[in-house]
Symmetry: C2
Subunit: 447 residues, 2 copies
């Protein structure tokens, strides 16, 4: 019944790979504020080209793009995506330049291709397949495409507050997703929250000769002592009350988890490790993965870090830290506890220079839309969708919480290296992921 | 009697400032291996131009330049200098570019001008003043100018072993020196040793998305825990046996120190601090300054350190550390204890990627050459030279220990910012320091 559409998709792979290459050539790095408008317009023009209506909504940050196709259907499907990408550093670890997309070994390589420009193109492609086949689209379509997801979506709430009616839908597909290490397709129903902070410290008015370490305070050492006090060697956060709002997993969630195999050995091989943090295994590892908040150093910098040696006592030191938060944990509460912790440990000179983030959220496991996605996945991929109650990653899902039941699926796989050098997407999944969307739309027409 | 020479010096200031500017325009950064041969040849050509003989000695590192003028005098004066400089980073803190020398407010600004290219030129200038005044030079002159002092002189020992006879002299002037915070000229008779190490750690085969901090080991955090274990918040090194070879100060040294005022308040104002490390004061501060080994972080780097945020779990982390050593402490011994410490704290994955350094050394306080320098200083500067039994800084003095009694004096002052942005030398001291050398040579002729 959907053969015409599948046939169109199979014939037009090269065309959409070219479209994707063009989009991935734009270095829309939100951390640097680079090329964001350009990327928004590029996405809008693809949507325009297939007859969708588009609108750019200003925020105090990057604009939010909406696009829609109202076919007066009973149900509405909403896509959430973002046109920004992570920074590509360190550049020298890329086999081909991050913003010059390259196809090799059945994959397409570029910064942002897996997270999430490949999925933007896949979603448009799925809609196009209905139009090309003269088959009526069975659902109303809406897109929300923001430009600051990779910097914690600091302005999306402005858009959401003004456009709640637009956002109401019967089903929602979150920005990206894909197959796990075993090739099985995952659906993520929740996302952890995030609190990203930059800690800064200045102990001297200027760098000093390192000989004076005998009597001058050291910025990097004070920062190290402060960071050391935040987390012990088992990974346990030492901030007083940090875990106080963490709820245990529900029975339904535990049931879902019992069907999940984290494939510990494969993960270890992938990361080149022989054991996990604190030598965790089995249920303890699952508990950490699905229900533990974290404290992670994304970057630390002080003094001379070039080649060879420089004997300097640095005046300044800086660290970038992200805390992943689980449901019920509150941003302001954790930020206050961090400040209190630093002060009580004697580090009131360690400044929280800036912070941003958002809380965690989950879609109920038993929502009928989740069933539609499961059924569609089985039809295309031939195996059962693996339901993940939440992802260890973050996204501003909380903003959509009472408006649309979101499920995160997409065209990536375990080797896609989102946020890392040599990010890529398998072309097979690009095709199958697009077909799965076609089936979801078809199923929603008969819901 | 030396009026002609002083008059020549006063008339030729601009000429030698130009010479100094040319030398400081060469970015001879030994940490990067940049422009070293060029700087060696530039120094040699100045020496050639005043009729000295020069020779470049190959080592497995940068070449060592020697230069001499044998006038068949009874005594010989040796100068030790270096043609390399520290890296100039961070460039953005310089008011004028580090390798485009600038004169303002009675000072000359450039990387390396205080440490120690100004003193190289001053020493040649002093010799020239005898030649220009048709006055016979009263001492034989020798120069040893190496090119790797700022990276701990890893190859100077090769030269010294082969050229011990050349190095024997009745008095030696060490690379640089100058006035303290109170404007009083200092003479440094000793130097601490140094052990510089680069610690490196790799916990994953590639960077991961920071969401996986829930189960993956963190390179920056492991490095932080390791560095935290090396030193406590009072500055005390926690490596077992680290202090075991540290001898208390001798009575003569204590006597010299009792005449020294560290001018704590001025120092604090200069560095923009309200208290020293561990709130040290008075004798405790002097003890740290003259007799404490240190453990200092010169640089630390891991993950994303650019603008804004990137959510990454870095696979690698690196720290550059220098230990300052006092007499009797042995490089290999401390290195072994560091390795043992890291292993016993569970950080056998923290590698000592490379190390280098040398031990401490001192010239006896009561050597007659020290008396000549004191007398000459009084004649030119009008105040008593302050004798510092040792400097908190380092240099390969140990290589010269039984060959020549070295005294470290020069043209800098307390605001010279060696190793830091906006390094400079006061032009007044450039002139007076040169005249002091003339008197020292004259005094050595009557020794």
């Amino acid at each position: 019944m959907l053969d015409d559409l599948f046939s169109y998709i199979d014939k037009s792979v090269d065309e959409y790979l070219e479209e994707l290459k063009r989009l991935c050539s734009i270095p829309s790095v939100s951390a640097k504020g680079d090329h964001l408008e350009e990327a928004a317009h590029a996405v809008a023009s693809i949507m325009d080209s297939i007859g969708m209506r588009t609108e750019l909504h200003e925020t105090t940050g990057a604009p939010v793009l909406t696009s829609w196709l109202d076919v007066d259907a009973k149900h509405t499907l909403l896509f959430y995506n973002h046109y920004d990408v992570q920074p590509a550093e360190p550049f020298d670890l890329w086999e081909t330049p991050p913003f010059e997309p390259d196809i090799r070994n059945g994959r397409i390589f570029a910064r942002g291709v897996a997270d999430n420009k490949g999925d933007i193109v896949s979603r448009i492609w799925a809609i196009k397949s209905f139009l090309e086949s003269d088959k009526e689209i069975p659902v109303n379509i809406k897109f929300v495409v923001e430009g600051e997801e990779e910097v914690s979506s600091p302005h999306l709430h402005e858009f959401v507050e003004k456009n709640k009616e637009f956002l109401r839908a019967d089903g929602g597909i979150w920005e990206f997703g894909g197959a796990g290490i075993d090739g099985i397709q995952d659906a993520w129903l929740g996302l952890k929250g995030i609190l990203y902070v930059q800690l800064e410290l200045e102990t001297l008015s200027h760098d000093a000769h390192s000989a004076y370490a005998c009597y001058l305070p050291s910025a990097p050492y004070r920062l190290i002592w402060a960071l050391n006090s935040l987390k012990d060697k088992t990974g346990k956060v030492q901030i007083d009350g940090f875990y106080e709002r963490v709820r245990p997993l529900s029975d339904k969630e535990k049931q879902a988890l019992s069907e999940i195999d984290l494939r510990e050995e494969d993960l270890q091989e992938f990361y080149g490790i022989t054991k996990f943090l604190d030598d965790m295994k089995g249920d303890e590892l699952k508990e950490a993965y699905y229900n533990a908040p974290t404290c992670n150093i994304c970057g630390i910098d002080s003094g001379y870090t070039g080649e060879g040696s420089k004997t300097v006592l640095p005046a300044k030191a800086m660290a970038k830290i992200d805390f992943r938060l689980v449901e019920e944990m509150d941003l302001g509460d954790i930020l206050g506890k961090l400040r209190h912790h630093l002060d009580s440990e004697g580090f009131n000179d360690v400044k929280i220079a800036w912070h941003k983030g958002y809380p965690a959220a989950k879609t109920p496991i038993d929502h009928p839309f989740v069933e539609i996605v499961k059924k569609s996945n089985k039809a295309v991929f031939g195996h059962e969708l693996r339901i993940q109650p939440t992802s260890p990653g973050s996204g501003p899902l909380y903003l959509f919480k009472d408006l649309v039941p979101m499920v995160s699926i997409g065209c990536s796989d375990f080797d896609s290296r989102a946020h890392s050098p040599n990010e890529s997407m398998p072309i097979d999944n690009f095709v199958l992921g697009t077909k799965r969307l076609v089936v979801i739309m078809d199923e929603m027409g008969r819901w």
